[in-house]
């Protein structure tokens, strides 16, 4: 049980370190360009990456 909790803690610690590094090294969020909360009715075309993209 203790080793399981240690493994989970190590896994999430690695993820959080990655996210912190990424946040520090990425361009700041531009809130003026914040997308609409719901795409439908927004008039904005989707622009995110997807697994089907090529």
């Amino acid at each position: 049980m203790r080793s399981r909790i240690s493994a989970i803690a190590a896994f999430w610690a690695a993820l959080i370190v990655f996210f912190a590094w990424d946040w520090a090294h990425s361009s700041p969020v531009n809130h003026r360009k914040e997308p609409a909360i719901i795409a439908i009715g927004s008039g904005q075309a989707p622009s995110g990456g997807h697994c089907s993209a090529f």
């Binding site: 989970i8 990424d22 914040e34």
Partner: protein, 383 residues
């Protein structure tokens, strides 16, 4: 080298341990609420909503032990069609919502359209083999890693590396032969596309039912928990489409994480690559992963599964060094092949079929053929 993994004898591929006290979920609940507020404040409200959708997905996947891989394996090994029937219900509900929406809002919503190609055929087939050895597809690897299963936590980084390298090589694979993506919504219109999708799902359901009947008719077709989870996942997948404007995906986010690390280490020049050099992908590399749609739902899925695991810890059996090696190689190939196949069980199958993409149907046929090899291979490897 010893570790634990869920025993294959379990219908859903995992074995829950003793339940923990209810209070163990409070710290995680607070952490999830804090993450939602932080995302809304520091990133965007949309990403906070998508994170919550991911948490819901992870909770349903882990709570019901809804495994695409396990469902297929149970059909092949035990002639138990209940998992596959729940997947068919998921696809039918998601398609019933998504296809009319795509037809009504073509400028604001996009389908998961991958090109029928040599790349798709090879990728889906290899994915079908390796998902059985690695005991998880895209969503399965995520939620089982979130549950704290060592096998899937170990597979996740290699899945990401494979996904990245698959995307780097994608255009070389496409040069072997491809046609333009086929959208049933565009070709047939909403009503006929939906009818064709339902007819295809009914044919798959009938084939699974006949196969299960040949096993003596002992297996049940309907598993209430799996069906309800399937319906819930379909509703959340539709919510993902409505909020993000694009269907649910998993694999792109993994590849993006590895691409960011490779670029930062100076080992990769995205500008010189046909895929990562595209404007949208360069933008994704430049901004935080918290702004990426697939990344944020991936994180949510793991968080939702972790929340479930707080009261339902997973027990497992030891895994030898050789078995670990086989699983990690399979995990890498899982990621690589998922990019060649334009998605995993989520991006290609769920999102492809429910948004009327022909490539989703081709993916299912080839991946299932691969699983027919992967299931006995898994048994031989003892994983």
């Amino acid at each position: 080298m010893q570790a634990t993994y869920p025993p294959s004898a379990s219908p859903a591929g995992v074995s829950p341990g003793a339940a923990a006290p209810a209070g163990t979920r409070w710290p995680l609940t607070l952490a999830i609420v804090a993450a939602v507020l932080a995302l809304a404040w520091f990133v965007t409200v949309r990403q906070a909503v998508l994170f919550l959708i991911g948490v819901g997905m992870g909770g349903l996947l882990a709570g019901a032990r809804f495994g695409f891989t396990t469902g297929w394996r149970r059909l092949i090994e035990a002639r138990d069609a209940s998992g596959v029937f729940a997947q068919i219900i998921l696809l039918a509900v998601a398609a019933a919502i998504s296809i009319p929406l795509l037809s009504s809002f073509p400028a604001e919503l996009s389908a998961a359209l991958g090109p029928p190609s040599v790349s798709l055929l090879v990728g889906a087939f290899v994915f079908g083999i390796t998902m059985q050895i690695a005991d998880g597809c895209g969503s399965g690897t995520l939620y089982k890693a979130g549950l704290g299963i060592p096998l899937n936590m170990g597979v996740l980084p290699l899945f990401a590396l494979g996904s990245f390298l698959g995307s780097v090589h994608l255009h070389d694979w496409l040069s072997l032969g491809a046609i333009a993506p086929v959208s049933l919504v565009r070709e047939l219109g909403s009503a006929k596309a939906l009818a064709a999708t339902f007819a295809g799902l009914a044919a798959v359901g009938a084939a699974a039912w006949l196969w299960s009947r040949k096993g003596g008719g002992a297996s049940r077709l309907w598993n209430r928990k799996l069906v309800l989870a399937g319906i819930g996942l379909a509703l959340l997948a539709a919510a993902n489409l409505v909020v993000a404007g694009q269907p649910w995906g998993v694999v792109y986010g993994f590849g993006l994480w590895a691409a960011k690390l490779a670029t930062a280490a100076g080992a990769f020049d995205p500008g010189s690559n046909a895929f990562w050099g595209q404007a949208g992908n360069l933008r994704a590399l430049d901004q935080s992963v918290f702004l990426d749609v697939t990344s944020i739902t991936n994180i949510g899925i793991m968080a939702g599964a972790l929340w479930i695991s707080a009261r339902r810890p997973v027990e497992g059996k030891p895994l030898r060094a050789g078995q670990w090696a086989a699983v990690l190689v399979a995990g890498f190939l899982l990621g690589y092949s998922s990019r060649l196949a334009f998605g995993c069980n989520v991006g290609a199958m769920v999102s492809g079929i429910s948004t009327g993409s022909l490539h989703g149907w081709i993916w299912v046929a080839l991946a299932f053929a691969g699983s027919l090899i992967g299931v006995p291979l898994r048994r031989r490897l003892g994983v």
